[in-house]
């Protein structure tokens, strides 16, 4: 068995100490080590965006980040998007706009959209389409996803 390394990181505001193998991706660490399966695997090579998380304010494909690289970082996953008070406005908007069909790409789209609106609260359709081009959805044709983000964007 490969040796393990201790990693100290912050996930959804909580400090986490974990052990992982140097070869494990952040995606594997989240899913297999921490049991946080909300982050999805679609391709494991950085092309579909299903495993998108926010790392120190930037969106990354967690399959392309090593678990050990999470050391000292601040990570937001889908499990950290809603609060005890309720859903994030984007989550609510996705539900109201029927923006998900199978739902496997949804966590990635939500985090990517959140990171966009956190930085550009009044992003327009063109900006949204540019920002979300790294996330693949095969069910919706994107129309209702873009509309859901646009609805929250305009509300701000």
């Amino acid at each position: 068995m490969a040796d393990v390394t201790q990693v100290k990181t912050t996930i959804n505001g909580e400090e986490v100490n974990l052990l992982c193998e140097p070869r494990q991706s952040l995606l594997e660490v989240l899913r297999d080590v921490l049991g946080m399966t909300g982050t999805k695997e679609g391709c494991n090579d950085g092309n579909c965006g299903a495993c998108t998380v926010i790392l120190d304010g930037r969106i990354v494909d967690s399959c392309l980040v090593l678990g050990v690289e999470a050391e000292g970082k601040n990570i937001t996953t889908i499990e950290g998007m809603a609060s005890p008070e309720g859903l994030h406005p984007l989550q609510q908007s996705f539900l109201e706009n029927a923006s998900l069909q199978c739902g496997i790409c949804t966590p990635g789209f939500l985090l990517a959209s959140k990171s966009l609106l956190d930085q550009e609260p009044d992003a327009d359709e063109g900006r949204i389409r540019h920002w979300l081009a790294g996330n693949l959805c095969r069910c919706t044709g994107y129309d209702k996803i873009v509309r859901a983000v646009l609805q929250v964007s305009k509300a701000k």
């Binding site: 090579d45 859903l87 998900l100 199978c102 739902g103 540019h130 081009a133 095969r138 994107y142 509309r147």
Partner: protein
């Protein structure tokens, strides 16, 4: 002009509204449990060793070093499958079918496509399994392979199966062939029909191998308990289909297998075949603990079931006024490594949009050294429509006829006999064509250079088949709704809506759950655009059962006859005594003290599914320098019968249209000459992204299906049928060139320009 229109004639209380889906919150918070999210105590992870060659004989497999690798708990090859121990004599007529099914899951003597499973390893984690895989020694004898569907049909082509003979409409050929089957339908007199025509055109078309492209890779978790009970948790369109496939290959009674369908991350027809379940089960049996197998994206591309490449010849004769006098087509579809392409569906769908008096359609199911193809949204129909709808546009151009008026003149309608012999009931093609003609999009002027507009229509018959539903009334007046239909795109909502509508209660009071194969009666796959229709109908029937029992209970409480009681809009009341009245909730409360709860049930096998039609409009612009096509405006029109949840119906129309846009412009498997796929990643197999698309406008036409109380017909599939021809027709408008080969890549568009001595492409 709104971008999403619903042309309704009938309104209901719950059906036709847009409530939030019951599984929605779990899916936006990451809590929903998909197949890969299973995490059983002590579970091992498995990896599958796959053939690097498209066609080879397996001379020997040595797994001993892999078995000895630390952390490896079980290794299996085809020798561990029951088929290995069964003789040809024992199996009799069933030999070939079982050999194909078993070998497809794990090859015993020959590999027939790159990615064909050879062995599987269960280990303490996936990295260990992968390391051990490199230690399996396989000695192959490489064989000549055949990749192209028409090459495979030729005499002397390398044989994929040495013993396969052509089933020519029931007649089995003497000689082995890659043509697994030939099928044919005809009507009228085509010689006479073509003789009567003022214009006869004949063209050939080809389409490339494409993939459904669901984002969630295949997965399976299995635990074969020591008592012989096999449990499987998997991502599938049909839990009962998985149970049947595993029972067949492992020679088990179905009662020994329980399949629990997990949330499914897309299917589109590609998650009907059980690729991993049987081998994962055998690994679990050998290891004595649960085993989980996950495919990588490359495995999905190389070893699940893409949609067939095809070749077709289409010939159509018309009068000068546009009336069709005769039609004819030959369609050859590549089935991949084992027979079973949708050639039959292709020939049945090819001319189903039209009233055909004289016609002949022939289909060929052809095996090649590529992964066995699977269903992909309206299987067979998109390829056929690319040819037929492109040729019709060419004819319209020749005769200077409006493409929508041409189609209205020839459109299939109620009473039209299709080529396979069935007569159309109330269908909505004419209404869809009229809605497209009258749409702001069609009436708008196309402007700018290198722009074009295209129109095409599409058909899918839709399906009924068996569904089971059980519903229980709780004492607080809520209703549990149990079903066997997997929810891929919002059918929990659409079936809960039909339940609420029938019972006259609030949508929020219906709690749908999708249960395992031990907990509900047989239910056919979520596919064929059947679920909202057939399982919806099962829910309505079960709700009717509940209503009858509620009436009986009220009769008991009021000490009167059931005939004196009526159930209207969720209120149970005495017909002649206004004082005696229960709301659904009030009566539910009474159940506890008057005999206990009530359950309704339904097991149905409905017909009357109602055929689906779609008409699409597209505007696009072609860059004359690069040949790149940009879709600038898109409108999808479709008859939904009655849209139960218009939001999810629009989603089906938009999603189908965009898969079609990808199929038209970008998507294809690149094969080397031996049949190795060269682009098995999402980087190189280029599916549409947000950046490639405009909004997709929709018009839901509602022509009630007489086979359903709310008029519902299937909506999932017709939307993928028209886009390829619509886009090809628009590219002709933009460039002046007819594209007859999919995908219509920038390279092909530029070449078409050069061939015509016009380097600017326009």
């Amino acid at each position: 002009m709104t971008s999403n229109q619903v042309l309704s004639e009938v309104e209901f209380n719950v059906v036709g509204k847009r409530p939030i889906r019951p599984d929605g919150v779990d899916k936006v918070t990451g809590r929903a449990q998909y197949g890969a999210d299973t995490n059983m105590t002590g579970a091992l992870q498995a990896k599958v060793l796959r053939s690097p060659y498209p066609h080879a004989r397996i001379k020997s497999i040595d797994v001993s070093k892999a078995e000895a690798f630390p952390g490896v708990k079980a290794v299996i090859t085809a020798k561990d499958l029951p088929f290995a121990a069964l003789s040809k004599e024992e199996l009799g007529d069933g030999y070939t079918a079982l050999k194909y099914a078993s070998d497809h899951m794990m090859a015993s003597d020959k590999v027939l496509f790159k990615g064909h499973p050879i062995a599987a390893i269960a280990a303490v984690n996936a990295h260990v399994a992968e390391s051990a895989m490199a230690l399996i020694q396989v000695d192959y004898e490489e064989l000549e392979s055949v990749v192209d569907v028409r090459e495979a049909m030729k005499d002397g082509a390398p044989l994929v199966h040495e013993d396969l003979r052509t089933n020519d409409m029931g007649q089995i050929s003497d000689k082995p062939s890659n043509i697994a089957a030939h099928m044919s339908y005809s009507t009228g007199d085509i010689d006479k029909g073509f003789a009567e025509a003022d214009l006869v055109m004949e063209r050939e078309y080809t389409t490339a191998t494409v993939h459904q492209g669901y984002i969630e890779p295949h997965n399976s978790t299995a635990f074969w308990n020591t008592d012989g009970q096999l449990n499987i948790w998997t991502s599938t369109q049909g839990s009962f289909a998985v149970r049947a496939a595993v029972a067949n290959v492992l020679r088990l009674p179905v009662s020994k297998i329980k399949v629990t369908p997990m949330e499914i991350g897309g299917g589109f027809g590609g998650k009907i075949t059980a690729y991993l379940d049987a081998i994962t089960a055998v690994l679990s049996k050998k290891a004595g603990v649960p085993v989980r197998t996950l495919m990588t994206r490359s495995e999905v591309f190389e070893a699940s079931g893409p949609a067939p490449a095809s070749w077709m010849r289409v010939k159509i004769g018309v009068k000068n006024n546009g009336k069709m006098t005769a039609v004819e087509t030959d369609i050859a579809m590549d089935a991949g490594a084992y027979p079973g392409s949708p050639a039959m569906q292709a020939i049945v769908c090819a001319f189903a949009c039209y009233d055909v008096t004289n016609g002949k359609v022939d289909g060929y199911d052809v095996v090649v050294n590529k992964p066995k193809t699977a269903a992909y949204r309206a299987p067979g129909s998109p390829q056929a429509a690319f040819g037929v709808e492109s040729l019709i546009d060419e004819i319209c151009g020749e005769l200077k006829l409006d493409p929508i008026e041409f189609r209205l003149l020839n459109a299939a309608k109620e009473g039209t006999r299709r080529i396979e012999g069935l007569v159309a009931k109330r269908i909505g093609l004419v209404e869809c064509l009229e809605a497209a003609r009258d749409h702001d999009h069609y009436k708008s002027k196309l402007s700018g250079e290198n722009t074009g507009r295209g129109v095409a229509c599409g058909y899918w018959p839709n399906r009924g088949f068996q569904s089971s539903v059980v519903m229980t009334v709780h004492f607080d007046g809520t209703v549990s709704l149990l079903m066997g239909s997997v929810d891929i795109g919002g059918t929990r909502a659409s079936i809960a809506q039909q339940t609420a509508e029938t019972l006259g209660i609030a949508y929020e009071d219906v709690k749908p759950t999708i249960v395992d194969t031990d907990s509900i009666g047989y239910t056919f796959i979520t596919g064929g655009s059947r679920t909202s229709f057939a399982t919806g109908l099962a829910a309505i029937t079960a709700a009717d059962d509940v209503k009858e029992q509620m009436i009986t209970r009220a009769a008991k409480i009021w000490d009167t006859s059931e005939d004196d009681i009526e159930y209207v809009n969720g209120t149970v009341s005495h017909k002649s005594d206004e004082e005696l009245k229960f709301s659904f909730k009030d009566l539910a409360r009474q159940l506890a003290t008057t005999g206990g709860t009530i359950s309704g049930r339904s097991n149905i096998d409905p017909t009357g599914e109602g055929n689906g039609y779609a008409v699409h409009l597209v505007d696009l612009k072609v860059d004359p320098e690069t040949g790149k096509t940009d879709v600038t405006r898109y409108t999808a029109v479709q008859d939904a019968g009655k849209a139960v949840h218009p939001g999810y119906v629009e989603g089906q129309m938009q999603g189908g249209a965009v898969q079609g846009i990808g199929w038209a412009l970008n998507e294809e498997y690149f094969f080397d000459p031996t049949g190795k796929m060269l682009n098995p990643t999402f980087l190189d197999y280029r599916m549409p992204t947000t950046l490639d698309l405009p909004m997709i406008d929709t018009v839901i036409v509602e022509v009630a299906n007489p086979g359903h109380p709310y008029g519902v017909r299937g909506v999932g599939e017709p939307a993928i049928v028209p886009p390829m021809a619509a886009i090809g027709n628009a590219i002709h408008g933009a460039t002046g060139h007819r594209m007859r080969s999919l995908p219509m890549t920038p390279g092909k568009i530029l070449e078409a320009g050069w061939e015509n001595g016009n380097s600017s492409g326009g």
